[in-house]
C-alpha cells in the first residue's frame, strides 16, 4: 500500500467556499482513480514566507491519500493543478516508505503523545492566520 500527502496553496483571493469546492473536485478525481482519502486538513489563510505572483498569503489544504494498488490519479490531479492559476503551489509526497522506515526504528516514545506534540508545534511563529488582505 502506498500513502501520499498532497498539499496545495490556493490564492487567498479565492473564497473559502471555492477552495472547498476545488478540494472536493480533486478528491473526487482521486477517489475515482481508485484511491482513498484518509485525511484532510485545512490550515486556512497563512502568510507565505515569500511572495508568489505578488501575493503574500495563501490558503493551505492538505490531503492524505492511500492507494492499495499503487495506481492513482495523482498525475492527472497534478496536471490540473498546474493549469489552475488559482493554485499557487502544490506538492505531492509519497510517505509510506519513509514512515515505515521511521516506525522500524526502536525506542519510539509513545505514538499518540508525540503526534499531539507535532500537531501542536507545527504552526511556527507566523502560523497565526492574519486578517489583512
Amino acid at each position: 500500500m502506498r500513502t501520499y500527502e498532497l498539499m496545495f496553496v490556493a490564492d487567498p483571493r479565492v473564497s473559502d467556499e471555492d477552495v472547498v469546492a476545488m478540494t472536493q473536485d480533486y478528491k473526487n478525481m482521486i477517489t475515482a482513480g481508485g484511491s482513498q482519502i484518509t485525511g484532510e486538513e485545512s490550515w486556512g489563510r497563512r502568510k507565505l514566507a515569500y511572495p508568489i505572483n505578488k501575493v503574500n498569503e495563501g490558503k493551505y489544504v492538505l490531503l492524505y491519500i492511500s492507494s492499495e494498488s499503487g495506481k492513482t490519479a495523482l498525475p492527472e490531479v497534478e496536471h490540473r493543478m498546474r493549469q489552475n492559476d488559482r493554485i499557487l503551489r502544490y506538492l505531492t509526497v509519497r510517505t509510506d516508505e519513509d514512515l515505515k522506515r521511521a516506525a522500524r526504528r526502536p525506542a519510539k516514545s509513545g505514538g499518540a503523545s508525540s503526534e499531539d506534540r507535532e500537531r501542536h508545534d507545527r504552526m511556527g511563529d507566523d502560523g497565526e492566520p492574519e486578517e489583512e488582505v
Binding site: M7, V9, L48, A49, Y50, I52, G58, Y60, L62, L88, R89, L91, V93, D98, L99, R101, A102, A103, R105, A107, K108, S109, E118, D121, R122, M123, G124, D125, G127
Partner: protein, 77 residues
C-alpha cells in the same frame, strides 16, 4: 604548564534528531525546521548543528519541500 592550558572543553554536539528520537522529519513541521535555518535562511551545516549524516539528508529534503510551499523562506534580504 603552558601545554595544559591548551586543553579546553568543547561542548559535544549531538544530533537533535537522534536525541529527540525524531525519525520522520516532516516538511510541515515549520517550528522544527526553523531551528536549522539561521538568519540568512541557509541550511545549517552539519559541522555547526552536529546533526548526523543520516538525519541531515532527510532534513535537507524537508527544508527544500517546505521552501517550495513557501512555509519557510529561500532567502531573507
Amino acid at each position: 604548564m603552558a601545554r595544559a592550558r591548551k586543553v579546553f572543553f568543547r561542548r559535544r554536539k549531538v544530533c537533535k534528531f537522534c536525541a529527540d528520537k525524531i525519525d520522520y522529519i516532516d516538511y510541515k513541521d515549520v517550528k522544527l525546521l526553523q531551528q536549522f535555518i539561521p538568519e540568512r535562511s541557509k541550511i545549517l551545516p552539519r559541522r555547526i548543528s552536529g546533526t548526523c549524516a543520516n538525519h541531515q539528508r532527510p532534513l535537507q529534503q524537508a527544508i527544500k519541500r517546505a521552501r517550495h510551499l513557501a512555509l519557510i523562506p529561500f532567502t531573507t534580504d
